[in-house]
């Protein structure tokens, strides 16, 4: 029982007092559960109590409750304040007093008390006010219990007259006092027998209405003129109006209909995680060890792949999708799995960006150290890194809040819940008998029960996803085998596991030996404890990993099969001498001329290779393989390639001997390639000068072998075109335009100095535009082009502004006239239709 002994102490009147009454151990338990309360450390218990009542802290505490504790808190929120334990029990267990609930409730209350969400003795249980506000039903925020407000709350704003009506309709003696009327109504609704009688009179369709509302939501819509079945309920207060058009089922009525239960399905017992399949523990350990070995091989392969220039770091950080694809192909795994390996190597510190200007990912020096460790220790390091990592490769490929793609090794992959979920999932596995593999859904259901608020009910909430990833990743890493936790996986969690020595009985139809449930792993391991656990795991794993071999089987089809992992020097050498054809438990190598040449290039001689194969082959070296090596070696280096800057050739070998013997030639770095050819590292000009200085008379040779005429040759550019002139101003007008311009200038001059010839029609007033018919305008223009005369025109531009201009038309076509505009001093084009009229300039 979680009741506190309260006999000696006066009942606490506040949470602070309740806390004050708790002993140190109990306070420590509270602070362990709610570490946010001591950051910073409160000055006194009053402050602690205040802080424990803040909304943020309470929300956090509620999120950490398991489903039953949360249901208990929800029930308290709809119970009286304070409520007695019995009232709470009634709400939780119902009238039928569900035994499981009865058994589990004290622990739940104790847990709530421990976390300072509930205080007070059993007769006066109080839910912290903030928690009550969070959990109690309100129209805006329906309670998960599906209960509505109590009669008292629902009738708060109701007219006394209406209440009286209800009371009498319900068959209660009328009182004039609203308060006692409400109390009487409440008493009626909570009295099971009377209620039963009352509801016994209800029309069947009214009961249907209640049925619909009983498990919530308790609110319903009514029309201003409700149907008789609703009317019947409304009259008796079984439905109470809350707002115009809305009615609610009062809490007391709902509870009566629910037989007292606040929850439709109280879940006092966590969903069991039972083994779906039980494998023999040896099979599990063996499979996990095999996978552990694969994990090591994969990480090594990954980093070997990146040995010579890994993929570039994206500007935003991380690996590009293309690089991830490429890596996945190279590792022969799917992209999410490749992302997991990359992230794992990163988490274990084996891989990082090199920080160069052209930033790339590469193995760290720690990787080289890691490679030298025994296999089990290498695995332990990966497993430990995985266990505590907050980075989650499962998120790769998804999008963050800003709709940016999350990339491998990139930012935004940290999820602080990851280590806790991982630990929790593995702990659940550890609780199963050895070799037991659970159904993944059962594990997920259990996690949802443990943190109902954190893991929303939806399929893809973070905790559920994390748990799913944990299960796959544990399998990939070899922590589990066939879905069951391996012995080394158990040790990794800090469970003491004895090394399995005795052979399990085997034979057809053998029953699985009864495995006792192993002890539960500790909840949290400090880093030193984790190190001890990791080392223990490595010790357990060691005998399960295949022993490295020192031999291979050579076959006449030019393959070598390593029937297991090889010692590193052997593997390295074979990797050079042959191409890997298939990997797995064994490695198949194929010898090709190219691979043998690679080994020769790496500085091995044919006899080295023969000796190497003979030493490491269990079987005689097949003749075709020996022949292949000799054949490639025969041709290897037959052609030689080197770099030289210049050469000296001379048909007289003695002369070349003389040059080579001369000390002054040392600076030219000469080397004799053939009796008549000497190569030099010095460039041709230096060589010529050097030889001349030594008293020889060399001649330069072209690439074609002709003697170059020694003449100081002028330096020339490649063919170039001369620069185009960049003219300033407009191009020079052609003669016609020029002539027109000159005429126009003259004409303009005239226009300004001579009076205009009066036209025969009307005399134009000064400033008035000339007006002619369009045919006349055209004719005059064309005539002017021929005669080269300047004309005086009226012109209306696109904005409608009229002006007078003196122009010398050059061309008339397509409705436009091109002319030298004397007024603007340039060639312009005018649309004929904009020309209002035209007049000849007065003759001189």
């Amino acid at each position: 029982m979680g009741q506190m002994s309260t006999e000696d102490l006066p009942a606490p009147r506040s949470l602070a007092e309740a806390l004050r009454a708790r002993d140190d151990a109990s306070l420590a338990a509270l602070l362990r559960r709610r570490p946010d309360l001591i950051t910073p450390v409160p000055t006194d218990l009053t402050q602690l109590a205040t802080r424990a009542g803040t909304r943020a802290s309470v929300v956090r505490a509620l999120e950490r409750l398991d489903r039953f504790a949360l249901q208990t808190a929800e029930a308290l929120a709809v119970a009286g304040d304070p409520a007695s334990y019995d009232e709470l029990l009634g709400l939780m267990a119902g009238d039928a007093a569900d035994e499981a609930v009865v058994a589990a409730l004290p622990a739940a209350v104790a847990a709530l008390r421990e976390q300072a969400l509930v205080w007070g003795a059993d007769d006066r249980l109080r839910l912290v006010r903030t928690a009550r506000e969070l959990l109690a039903p309100s129209p805006q925020h329906p309670s998960p219990t599906g209960l509505g407000p109590s009669v008292q709350e629902a009738t708060a704003g109701m007219s006394p007259g209406r209440i009286q009506e209800i009371v009498s309709a319900a068959g209660l003696p009328s009182t004039h006092d609203s308060v006692s009327a409400v109390a009487a109504l409440t008493a009626l609704f909570t009295d099971r027998k009377k209620m039963k009688r009352l509801l016994g009179q209800a029309p069947a369709d009214s009961l249907d209405v209640l049925d619909r509302l009983v498990w919530g939501p308790p609110y319903g819509q009514v029309t201003p003129d409700p149907a008789p079945r609703l009317r019947w309920l409304l009259d008796r207060g079984l439905l109470l109006p809350t707002a115009p058009g809305t009615v609610v089922l009062p809490r007391e009525v709902a509870l009566h209909l629910r037989a007292g239960r606040a929850h439709r399905t109280p879940e006092p017992v966590p969903p069991a995680v039972e083994p779906a399949v039980v494998h023999r523990p040896q099979v599990v350990d063996g499979t996990a060890a095999g996978q552990a070995y694969t994990a090591l091989a994969t990480v090594e392969e990954l980093l070997k792949e990146w040995d010579e220039g890994g993929p570039a770091v994206l500007r935003a950080g991380g690996l590009s999708v293309r690089d991830l694809k490429r890596t996945a192909v190279a590792l022969d795994v799917s992209e999410p799995v490749a992302a997991f390996w990359v992230e794992l190597a990163y988490a274990a510190g084996l891989l990082a960006s090199d920080g160069e200007a052209d930033e790339r990912y590469a193995a760290t020096p720690a990787y080289d150290e890691w490679r030298e460790r025994p296999a089990a220790e290498r695995w332990a390091r990966l497993a430990e890194a995985w266990l505590v990592a907050t980075r989650t490769s499962g998120l790769v490929g998804g999008r963050d809040a800003k709709e940016r793609t999350l990339s491998t090794l990139g930012p935004g992959l940290d999820r602080s819940a990851a280590p806790e979920v991982r630990h929790r999932v593995l702990t659940l596995l550890a609780a199963l008998p050895e070799g037991g593999a659970p159904d993944a859904e059962a594990v997920l259901a259990r996690l949802r029960w443990e943190r109902p608020l954190r893991g929303a009910q939806s399929e893809d909430d973070l905790r559920t996803r994390l748990a799913r990833w944990t299960l796959t990743e544990a399998e990939l890493l070899g922590v589990t085998g066939r879905g069951a936790l391996s012995a080394h996986g158990r040790a990794l969690l800090g469970v003491a596991v004895a090394r399995r020595t005795a052979e399990e009985p085997k034979g057809p139809g053998d029953k699985l030996p009864v495995h006792h449930r192993p002890s539960a792993p500790p909840e949290h391991l400090s880093p030193p404890e984790q190190a001890v656990a990791t080392a223990a795991a490595a010790r357990l794993l060691t005998p399960l990993l295949p022993e490295p071999l020192d031999h291979v089987l050579l076959q006449a089809d030019l393959t070598a099969v390593a029937p297991g992992p090889l010692h590193r020097p052997l593997a390295d050498m074979l990797g050079v001498l042959a191409d890997v054809e298939s990997k797995g438990g064994a490695t198949v190598y194929r010898f090709t001329p190219a691979s043998v040449r690679r080994a020769l290039d790496a500085g091995r001689s044919a006899s080295d290779l023969h000796a190497f194969l003979a030493a490491h082959s269990r079987t005689p070296v097949p003749q075709p393989l020996a022949y292949l090596i000799d054949d490639v070696a025969r041709r290897h280096g037959h052609l030689r390639v080197g770099a030289a800057s210049a050469y000296v050739r001379c048909d007289d070998e003695t002369l070349l001997n003389e040059i080579l013997a001369d000390k002054r030639a040392a600076a030219l770095r000469l080397r004799r390639l053939a009796p008549t050819v000497v190569a030099a590292q010095a460039d041709p000009a230096t060589l010529l000068d050097g030889l001349r200085a030594m008293g020889f008379a060399p001649a330069a040779e072209s690439a074609e072998g002709d003697v170059l005429i020694s003449r100081a040759h002028a330096h020339r550019t490649p063919p170039r075109t001369a620069p185009e002139p960049v003219p300033e101003g407009p191009p020079v007008p052609d003669a016609t335009l020029l002539a027109a311009a000159i005429r126009a200038i003259r004409a303009g001059d005239l226009a300004s100095t001579t009076p205009r010839k009066p036209t025969d029609a009307t005399q134009l007033a000064p400033g008035e535009l000339p007006r002619t018919s369009s045919a006349e305008t055209l004719a005059t223009m064309q005539a002017a082009v021929l005669t080269g005369e300047a004309l005086w025109i009226g012109y209306v531009n696109a904005e409608g502004t009229a002006s007078q201009r003196v122009i010398a038309p050059v061309r008339v076509e397509g409705g436009f006239v091109t002319a030298y505009d004397h007024t603007a001093d340039e060639v312009r084009t005018y649309p004929l239709h904009r020309i209002t009229g035209v007049a000849e300039l007065a003759d001189d």
Binding site: H279, R280, Q282, V283, G286, T287, A288, A289, G290, Q291, Y293, T294, D332, E475, G481, R482, G483, K506, G507, P508, D510, P546, L553, Q555, A556, D557, L558, T559, V561, P563, G564, S582, K583, G584, G585, A586, V588, T619, P622, Q623, P624, Y627, D631, R635
Partner: protein
């Protein structure tokens, strides 16, 4: 997995690429081989480690033969030296689970129907564009009518879609015709019997046996089982005659009961032997001889050298799914990579035996394979270097030096029956002249060929020069030495066929020799390496010898 499994020291290693490595010298290797044979294809069988491959097709064939995923997983776990990756086991189970969701069967009212036990699968495949033209009306949500003529097509397409159909529609018995094996003084060898049984039990399928291991008798045995009219498809006329000869000798059939349907003769009798060539002759856009398939109610169709099955025959075969089909071959390696078409249209592999195993039982002659590397002379090297790319192979394959080496080998085995095999007629003519031996090539008439073969068989001629026309199905029992001077580029299957020429058991039990003369440092050498790969993987390792060494010896 629920059985006791000794991880330590199993003979099998499971690789991540789904190949299985079997250590043959292991004490439990035989058990293991038997356990994995139903679902894994033997890919390579060199001396120490045999490689098997697990493919979806193989797994489905195992399902068709009545094995379930549990058995397969158990076989792997039981014999594996190292723990088998869980993912692989899951994958195997899932793959095998895909088989049998769809079944082809005979409906009393609607004829051939496709039914499913898993409706979404049927929905999925019916949405496929390739399936749509092959099916008819939907009878009920789980059943759809299939045009009877599309039985092969739909099976092939479903296989490609990853939902193989179980074919329960059965076979027609065909027109009965009495055929008995005449086992007077000889009997079917145990493996031949096994092959016939496996085939008959499986309904249709392919039997893979090395050349010289008596595939014809497997055919004869199957006919004796079927006791019905039989259509035998062979590669060429000579081969057709040999089949006829063999059938007359080994069965109760008489000459009159066996017809030949070839370019020259068009006889249709209870047992008819037709050549692929005549079937695929196209006149005015149609295949006039296709009606042969319908000319009788055949109870059994035998495809000889099934790896050479020409593409058009595939198409016809798709229409013959209701008849029993037997494919015979020495190797399933097809240079065109259409092995899976053979499987889906003729049937899965029903029987195969590693060459070396049959050799060990004494049914095929042990062979000494030697590759002789010939150095080109300096002038030949220069000429080779400057030759056009398409002429290069011809040039190095027909170099003069080869002729000298060939002559040296012939001299060395003087008195034994020697075959010289080559690709280029000029080279062969020249060799024939130098060796004073008759040449058989494409233009040699069938009568002439048979005359020469008979003479060779009788020992009247000891050296015969043959072009690739003699690659297949000629029966030269006493050839003990084969010298290959040139070939069809890198054809592995041709190499296997040619080696087969000398593998037929010798009367005096002595060793066969197979020489391959190759020009060093040329593409001839590269092609040779490629050609030999199949045989090396069958355990026939080549010794490599320098021509100078050989010339010095002789």
């Amino acid at each position: 997995m629920r059985k006791g499994c000794a991880y330590v020291n199993g003979p099998l290693i499971v690789q991540s690429d789904k190949t299985l490595l079997l250590e043959v010298d292991h004490e439990r290797a035989d058990d293991c081989r038997r356990a994995i044979a139903p679902f894994a294809e033997l890919e390579r069988a060199p001396e120490h480690i045999h490689t098997y491959r697990v493919t979806p097709l193989g797994l489905w064939n195992a399902r068709a033969a009545g094995h379930d995923a549990e058995q397969v997983v158990d076989a792997l776990v039981e014999h594996s030296r190292y723990p088998v990756p869980h993912a692989l086991l899951v994958d195997i189970a899932e793959t095998m689970d895909r088989y049998g969701r769809l079944t082809l069967s005979k409906h009393p009212a609607h004829g051939l129907v496709l039914t499913t036990t898993d409706r979404p699968v049927l929905e999925e495949i019916l949405r496929s564009k390739r399936i749509a033209p092959l099916v008819g009306a939907r009878i009920d949500p789980d059943t759809v009518v299939v045009h009877p003529s599309e039985r092969g097509q739909i099976k092939q397409t479903l296989l490609k879609l990853g939902w193989p159909a179980e074919d329960l529609a059965g076979y027609v018995d065909g027109e009965a015709h009495p055929i008995e094996l005449a086992e007077d003084g000889w009997a079917l060898r145990p493996y031949q019997k096994q092959a016939v049984e496996n085939f008959w039990h499986g309904g249709s399928g392919v039997v893979v046996l090395p050349c010289g291991a008596g595939k014809t008798l497997v055919g004869a045995g199957s006919m004796a089982q079927a006791k019905s009219t039989t259509l035998i498809l062979v590669t060429n006329t000579v081969s057709a005659r040999q089949w006829k000869h063999e059938l007359v000798r080994r069965t109760s059939l008489t000459e009159d009961e066996i017809g030949e349907y070839s370019g020259t003769r068009k006889e249709i009798r209870p047992v008819t032997i037709a050549t692929y060539q005549v079937l695929t002759t196209k006149r005015k856009g149609v295949y006039p001889h296709l009606e042969l398939f319908d000319s009788r109610d055949w109870g059994l169709i035998v495809y000889d050298e099934v790896h050479l099955l020409p593409a058009p025959v595939f198409k016809f075969t798709a229409d013959l799914q209701a008849r029993r089909r037997l494919g015979l071959t020495a190797t399933l390696v097809r240079e065109d990579g259409r092995e899976s078409d053979v499987f889906s249209l003729i049937g899965p592999k029903r029987f195969d035996a590693p060459w070396k195993e049959i050799e060990a039982q004494g049914y095929i002659a042990p062979a000494d394979c030697v590759e002789v590397r010939v150095n080109l002379t300096d002038s030949e090297r220069l000429a080779y270097a400057t030759a056009e790319a398409e002429e290069k192979y011809r040039y190095c394959a027909t170099t003069d030096t080869k002729r000298k080496v060939t002559e040296a080998i012939v001299r060395r085995f003087a008195g034994q029956q020697i075959l010289v095999i080559g690709q280029y007629i000029d080279q062969l003519d020249e060799l024939g002249e130098h060796l004073n031996a008759p040449v058989i090539k494409g233009e040699t008439s069938n009568t002439q060929r048979e005359k020469l073969f008979d003479a060779f068989r009788e020992g009247e001629i000891s050296v015969l020069v043959v072009s690739k026309v003699a690659n297949f199905s000629i029966d030269l029992p006493e050839a003990t030495v084969a010298i290959q001077v040139s070939g069809t580029f890198g054809s592995r299957q041709e190499e296997a066929q040619r080696l087969g020429r000398v593998l037929r058991p010798k009367a005096d039990g002595h060793q066969a020799h197979f020489y391959s003369v190759v020009a060093r440092d040329t593409i001839d050498q590269d092609f040779a390496a490629h050609r030999q790969r199949f045989l090396a993987e069958q355990g026939y390792a080549y010794r490599i010898m320098d021509a100078d060494e050989l010339l010095a010896e002789s």
